[in-house]
Amino acid sequence: MSMLNVSVYRYNPETDDKPYMQDFQVDTHGRDLMVLNVIQLIQEQDPSLAFRRSCREGVCGSDGLNMNGKNGLTCVTAVSEVTKNGKLTLRPLPGLPVIRDLVVDMALFYHQYERIQPYLQTTGPAPAIERLQSPEERDKLDGLYECILCACCSTSCPSFWWNPDKFVGPAGLLQAYRFLADSRDDATSERLAGLDDPFSVFRCRGIMNCVNVCPKGLNPTRAIGKIREMLMSNAT
């Protein structure tokens, strides 16, 4: 028997006045489980626990949680990586409204993603086969297109906590730069014009919480810096 103490954020708006932390003991049989496995073992004890998960291999981005104070994907985070003194605390992603237990309402996050128009926009006629890119042009998209929209970065960002309706957030800005950097996109100046206010990009204070938590190892802070450079060269 090797027991792990887990404290889980619980909230059911239909029955609870306010959120509370519930303690569970989970038998890991001495194995270093992924946090998602631990949550599934807890659900066997209490089937009313609500959480999101799908692919369980770090691809779908649906199981982002705050584990011992740090955001990450539970399916690719080993208990040994996050546990302190045999204790694991699980909370929903910070800053977004809680629907129930560990499930948050991602509407604000998706709204900011929608705002940056995450699709190619072209003006010329459609080519017969495909829009070609040189290998060098394609290389510029590396480190940008891999984002799975798990929201770990944006919900670890204080600027997004305070202004989720105005600041695009690291995830949205990484994608904004993904389309600004794409040689096939013709809407660069329109995209930049939509970002040149004091909130959308410039509320980023460069504290790099986003880089610290990204489960895919991406760097939104660098992308934000590149957007600033493009705005600067466009406006000076």
């Binding site: 939509g194 206010d197 004091p198 909130f199 600033r228 406006a235």
Partner: protein, 115 residues
């Protein structure tokens, strides 16, 4: 695009650039003043007022003061928009900061060129 009317430059890019340029000016001014004080351990009133009689020093000081005003406007505007969600209070605080900075700038011009 998010619309704003109480930030310094009406654009995030201009605020960002002014914030950085004013920071460089303030750093240079701080280094100069601290260096001057270290090089003059027996500083008396005549030497100190002599320093500020020079036009170049007055221009440099006024530049630093305007930089403080711009830097503080942008910085405090950002803090207020982060933490104060009630519009009336936010607007009142922004007005207070801008008025205070205006008074300080005019007052310091009087100090620099007055005596």
């Amino acid at each position: 695009m998010v619309t704003n009317v109480t930030n310094l430059g009406r654009s995030g890019l201009s605020d960002w650039l002014v914030q950085r340029a004013s920071a460089v000016i303030l750093a240079l001014y701080t280094v100069f003043i601290v260096g001057y004080l270290l090089l003059h351990p027996q500083l008396d009133y005549l030497t100190w007022s002599g320093l500020f009689e020079r036009t170049s020093m007055r221009v440099f000081t006024l530049l630093a003061l305007l930089s403080i005003a711009a830097h503080a406007w942008i910085g405090l505007w950002t803090v207020v928009t982060d933490y104060i969600k009630w519009t009336n209070l936010r607007l009142a605080l922004q007005a207070f900061v801008i008025l205070a900075l205006f008074v300080f700038v005019v007052w310091s011009v009087q100090v620099l060129w007055g005596a």
